[in-house]
Amino acid sequence: MAEGVTVRARLRPYRVVLAARASSQTVYRANFVLDLISSLLAAVVELAEVWVLFHAVTRLGGLEFHQILLVFGLADLAFSLADLAFGHCDNLPTYLRAGTLDVFYLRPQPLLLQLVTSDISLRRLARAAVGLAALGAGLAVNDVAWDVGGVALLVVALVSGCATFAAMFVLAGGLQFFLVDGAEMTSAFVYGGRYAATQPASVWSRPLQVVFGFFFPMAFTGFLPTLRLLDLPAPAWLPTWLGWCGPLAALWAWALALLCWHWGVRHYRGGGG
């Protein structure tokens, strides 16, 4: 009982801050509505980019549109949820340059946790809705085996995909301590990774297989689980049992991310303010 109270008491500051951030976003009402619509549209446009290609040629990399819809749904929903929680790690360079990060060091909470709870972008929920819709549609139009294995694979893929994308944001954050001005470099694997995750990985050349297949394990977030789930033929370099290995990919991504984050935090020497 007493323990429950202390946990709640410890979480209280985060809850209060998050609630305040959430309500502050609705102050400029017209802008907030536009924000929501824009986020929704952003995800729709990303789906449209995939659709247009499959409209021009019906089959790409061994997949048809209804199959890629499942890849897109899994990867995009996982990315949106990770973005909701960790997306504002992108703001780190702004804090670093302005020297406002020092304030975070003064508070008695872990730096990464503070950063994660420093903001919650409600508009990102709109984005997740599109991913969810695509996933639902993908599951409905494909012939999915609804046994225990199928459901378990779906859950494992979604959870580990989410963790993998979150790790990408943290990894990018860790690198920002060194890059500061070169912040754009990390969008190569954060947003480039999201783009790669929604593609049929079977069309990639060898260098991309290494980079986005394994080093930044994007193929594990959507493409591989889909192959396994729909029992599709896999390219030679990606045996279908890898579809179950999402958790391993997530662990690898987090190991990379935390290593980088700790290096970064130690490297930081203050803004001189």
Binding site: L34, I37, S38, A42, V45, M185, A188, G192
Partner: protein, 267 residues
């Protein structure tokens, strides 16, 4: 007249100098754009091959030109909708701009064009080098180069002038982040950044052309990749000029109306 021209020339040079200060940022941009370029190569080449070697006038060579030129222009063409003027309107500094003996719109556009032109060097050239390694198709006639260069310049100015519209919406909205993200989302897609607009279904292709976005990317690249002939190139240039007149005129009108509407917050 000459004095005015000199002022704008100085603003253009100031824009160039300002951009040249961020070298590491440019390097970051190159890394990101190269990665996206390589991903686009795989998926778009696979698309062309799946269509039997040619799709809507693009073979692999022309598609390569399309991809690497569009990546090269990303640092110069404003597809993000972010502008300095939006910030200045929000915090009221724009009041000072109105006191200066310069046209607010023309000054802002000139500075931004200066930045965009400089960005062609650190962000554009590396993409072309990668493109040359991958292999790019060249246009059929020599005339395509000067026409393409003019079209490219027009593309930059149109993008800057359109993004300016997003900024001045702030006279009424104050916070323009929502409009800016809207611009960001729509512009890339309709400009043909990820998929050339000629690959769109017909209705979507027509819809895209009813916006200024193809003028910012797709048109100059189609001229330089040799996807259109001489007559086609001239038509595209005419379309660009029309869009420039349209967005430029609208920007001027909004700036004047906004000046009367402006309410500087705080003291």
């Amino acid at each position: 007249m000459r004095a005015t021209a000199r002022v704008y020339w100085r603003l253009l040079r100031a824009g160039i100098r300002r951009q040249s200060a961020y070298r590491l940022a440019a390097f970051g941009g190159v890394a990101a754009n190269a990665t996206f370029g390589l991903l686009k190569v795989e998926v778009l080449f696979a698309t062309v091959r799946a269509a039997g070697g040619e799709l809507a006038g693009y073979d692999v060579g022309r598609m390569s030109t399309y991809i690497w030129l569009s990546q090269a222009l990303l640092g110069s063409v404003n597809l993000t909708g972010r502008t300095d003027i939006a910030e200045r309107i929000k915090d009221g500094r724009v009041a000072v701009d109105f006191l200066r003996p310069l046209d607010v719109q023309a000054a802002e556009i000139t500075t931004e064009v200066g930045r965009a032109l400089f960005a062609l060097i650190p962000r554009g050239i590396p993409m072309l080098v990668i493109g040359l390694f991958v292999g790019m198709a060249q246009p059929g006639s020599v005339a395509a180069y000067p026409l393409g260069a003019v079209s490219l310049l027009l593309a930059i100015v149109i993008s800057v002038a359109t993004a300016y519209l997003v900024g001045v919406a702030g006279f009424w909205l104050v916070e323009t982040h929502g409009v800016q993200v809207f611009y960001l989302v729509v512009s890339g897609f309709l400009a043909g950044l990820f998929v050339p607009i000629r690959l769109f279904p017909r209705w979507l292709w027509v819809a895209a052309q009813a916006t200024p976005f193809p003028s910012m990317l797709a048109y100059p690249i189609d001229i330089l990749a040799g996807r259109v002939g001489l007559a086609g190139a001239l038509t595209l240039l005419a379309a660009q000029l029309a869009w420039l007149a349209g967005v430029g005129g609208l920007g001027q009108a909004l700036t004047r109306a906004g000046r009367r509407h402006l309410e500087v917050q705080g003291g």
